[in-house]
């Protein structure tokens, strides 16, 4: 039956190492990085010249000329030029939303194969003209002749030349993501020590994963970088505890550059396909995409923390799949800030909160910390906004493949109060 949904498999993945802002990739554009990641995926899978169903990707910080970024990258890649592509953007959840989009199309038999991707650069971020100058130039463009254009010149003012640099701030509150997170951190009384310990684990586990070759078939070196250069394999609680707070003020200022993700550049890709398509191309499933749930919170009027949407999405997803929070072998939670992860876990253990906010009978449950981000996450790898989702999907799929069977829960909080969560299974 052509209409019966089927499971979409994660078949392979590739990313370039993530680089701290203005470092190894400062001369690379989004297109360069996504192109390198895609070429590495094609080389790993031997798919040169192949027409894939569709490629979905996106970037948060994007130049106007990159309106068709993903399609342009496909055209410059080793894939067949008649591989379609589209751009999408959902802030930090972009890569996961791309995965869900492609997986759903595969499940519905609209595609047999596809690539989900994301990319971001803060080193080559678009700098916009300020609004007044932009209006002036639009007027000039609309003006009839040279004389009319000349007549507009006296309107030019020095302040017009100050560019608008993209800010990591919520438009409706003016607060940065870190400032928002600081509010949540204080509300949930997440201590500095807890945050530092989570950050330490992220670094240590990522370093160990590299050492045991976990990333040998998930990553390709780029521009001289062989590992994420934010990784501090030798960091320690002492070192982390000495860092000055970066967000929040006074006593409660516990968030430091050590337990918050730094701005980073990078690009991941994930190859998805039906089992049959995979078999025909010699690619066995690493894991299957089972389901996903999106939620959003009203952080504007102060009802909820900006990054708490996954707290709402997960119980809805579990209810639909008839699963409990304990039914997972791996929890892959994006570490926007150590405190975000810790507040999420704490919220699910809080009976009153679960009752009042989530409408549950009691606590949602407890996440076994030994199954959380077992090969490190964003605190250690860094977090190029749109890139993180596809990185996590690849990691979760590989973990399930290594284990042989099991279930992974992926959770990503995003700007705008969005949160996207998904289940992978094998």
């Amino acid at each position: 039956m052509a209409s019966t949904p089927r499971k979409a498999a994660v078949l392979a993945a590739n990313r370039i190492p993530f680089a701290r802002a203005n470092g190894a990739y400062r001369r690379a554009s989004n297109a360069d990085m996504l192109g390198a990641a895609l070429d590495g995926l094609v080389a790993r899978t031997g798919l040169q010249g192949e027409r894939l169903g569709e490629v979905a990707g996106g970037a948060v910080l994007k130049h106007a000329r990159d309106f068709n970024l993903t399609r342009e990258v496909v055209l410059g890649s080793k894939l067949a030029a008649d591989t379609p592509a589209f751009d999408l953007q959902q802030a930090c959840a972009t890569g996961l939303e791309a995965t869900v989009a492609i997986a759903n199309k595969i499940a519905l038999r609209q595609l047999d194969s596809g690539v989900a991707a994301g990319v971001d650069t803060v080193s080559d971020a678009p700098v916009a003209l300020n609004d007044d100058l932009r209006r002036l130039l639009m007027d000039a463009n609309a003006a009839g002749g040279p004389l009319e254009v000349a007549a507009l010149l006296p309107r030019l003012r020095p302040h017009h030349l100050v560019p608008e640099i993209p800010k990591n701030a919520e438009p409706r509150t003016g607060l940065s993501m870190g400032e928002h997170a600081a509010i949540t951190t204080r509300e949930w009384e997440i201590s500095r020590d807890q945050q530092d310990r989570l950050a330490l684990a992220s670094h240590q586990q990522l370093a160990a994963a590299y050492d045991r070759g976990f990333f040998d078939d998930l990553l390709t070196p780029y521009l001289g970088l062989q590992r994420d250069d934010n990784l501090r394999a030798d960091t320690s609680l002492e070192k982390l505890s000495q860092l000055e707070p970066a967000f929040g003020t006074g006593e409660g200022a516990t968030m430091t550059p050590g337990n918050s993700t730094p701005l980073t550049d990078g690009a991941p890709t994930v190859l998805l396909g039906s089992e049959e398509w995979g078999r025909a191309h010699g690619l066995a499933p690493l894991a299957f995409v089972v389901d996903a749930e999106i939620a959003a919170v009203d952080y504007v009027h102060g009802h909820e923390g900006l990054l708490m949407a996954p707290v709402y999405a997960v119980p809805r997803l579990l209810a639909r799949r008839d699963l409990s929070l304990e039914d997972f072998d791996f929890y892959e939670f994006h570490e926007a800030f150590a405190s975000t992860v810790l507040a999420t876990l704490k919220a699910w253990e809080d009976p009153a909160y679960c009752k009042e906010r989530l409408g549950l009978d009691g606590p949602l449950g407890t996440v076994d910390r030994t199954r959380l981000n077992v090969v490190g996450s964003s605190l250690a790898t860094g977090h190029p906004f749109a890139a993180t989702g596809a990185r996590i999907v690849a990691t979760a799929a590989k973990l399930l493949h290594e284990k042989g069977s099991g279930r992974a829960l992926i959770s990503i909080c995003a700007a705008g109060g969005n949160g996207l969560v998904a289940i992978l299974e094998r």
Binding site: A36, D39, G40, V42, A43, R44, T45, G46, Q48, G49, K78, G213, F215, D216, D217, L219, T220, P221, Y222, Q226, G282, L283, A284
Partner: protein, 445 residues
Amino acid sequence: MGDWYQQLTSHPLGRQATSLLGLPGPAQLRRGDDPPPGPVLAGDAGKGRLGAHLRRVLGDLHLPLRWPGDEATGAAEDDNACLVLDATGLAEPADLLSLHTFFHEPVRRLAPSGRVVVFGGVPAEASSPAERAAQHALTGFVRSLAKELRGGATANLVQVARDAEGGLDSTLRFLLSGRSAFVDAQTIPITRSATDASDRSRPQADRVALVTGAARGIGAAIARTLAADGAHVVLLDLPAQGDRLTESANRLGGSAMQLDITDAAAPTRLADRIAERHGRLDVLVHNAGSTRDKTIAGMDAAAWETVMAVNLSAPLRLTEALLDRELLSPTGRIVAVSSLSGIAGNRGQTNYAASKAGLIGLVDALAGQVGGEATANAVAPGFIETDMTAAMPFALRELGRRLNSLNQGGQPVDVAETVAWLAEPGSGGVNGAVVRVCGQSLLGA
């Protein structure tokens, strides 16, 4: 063009100077599939058993052919480019005079990059001491003749076992072609007949090849050559070389595998990937290699262990894993890249030479073990122009280049073509051989 000596000698003044000094100028070698620039002169020394086979192969090559007693094809005044002699019929020392008879005249007028191919029997199969002596004499003859040839010409001996006559085709084609440019004064055994249904222009079509150390140098050339022969090549190298691998794999339409072959999990990972992606492996080339040069007195144990792990232990373990899981196809070809150091020995390379000699032992064992029409062979490069040799001190490098009968270093493609010949489906007759790609190096000769 890193070879200043070659440039010097191709300049008229330079040529004068070097010939005054008595130094021969290195010839521009004929490479690739360029046909020999002249006719083939073929003949018999005594009552050979290969006549029909040689005629068949030479006929298929569509070259002008001169066979005493036959009507010659091609222009009469052209210099011969290839001299092919069936010497399997030599039964006693007195018969050896026929070598003089056959070569005495034609060797004076051999076209540039000419080829001498002498076919003998396997001395150990001789039925009398006299025949064994005569057959063994061929080795010394060919090696000396190779030293007398000029202009990029080579001479090689092929020893064809009884009932293995049908296994010589791919070897004769290889030796006459430009692909064997740097293979000189070798003794190549043909131990059995072979079937060959492959397309001559794409002998590796529909076959899967794995090349370790494929990111650069000789390994990259091997990958390129096998891909040009039609194989799907899996290019393997260290994860740190991943970007170069990606580039090559995408250019060649192959696939990249990032793996440290010394990892404990490497054999399983490799076997899993071959099983999953391809279901079988047709060509396995152990090329990855490493050096840590020091005299044994000055060498630490780590330098010993690194070299041994990469060059010898890893090929052993990877091969065992693939064979255990029956992933090598019935016409599978294992080729190990050894080294002249492993044969001749080299000061400062006790670890490296031991590992490379060990590889030859491994190939010996595998040749008896692989079964079916599969084979295991080794190539032993001499001085090859790569990043590795470019880093040598100037004087040593110059010496390395000149100390062979062709007066120049080989190119990575010369090793690659030799590997590709052994890897052909039609080369089932060559099993357990060690073929040097050294231009008849003076070392270890």
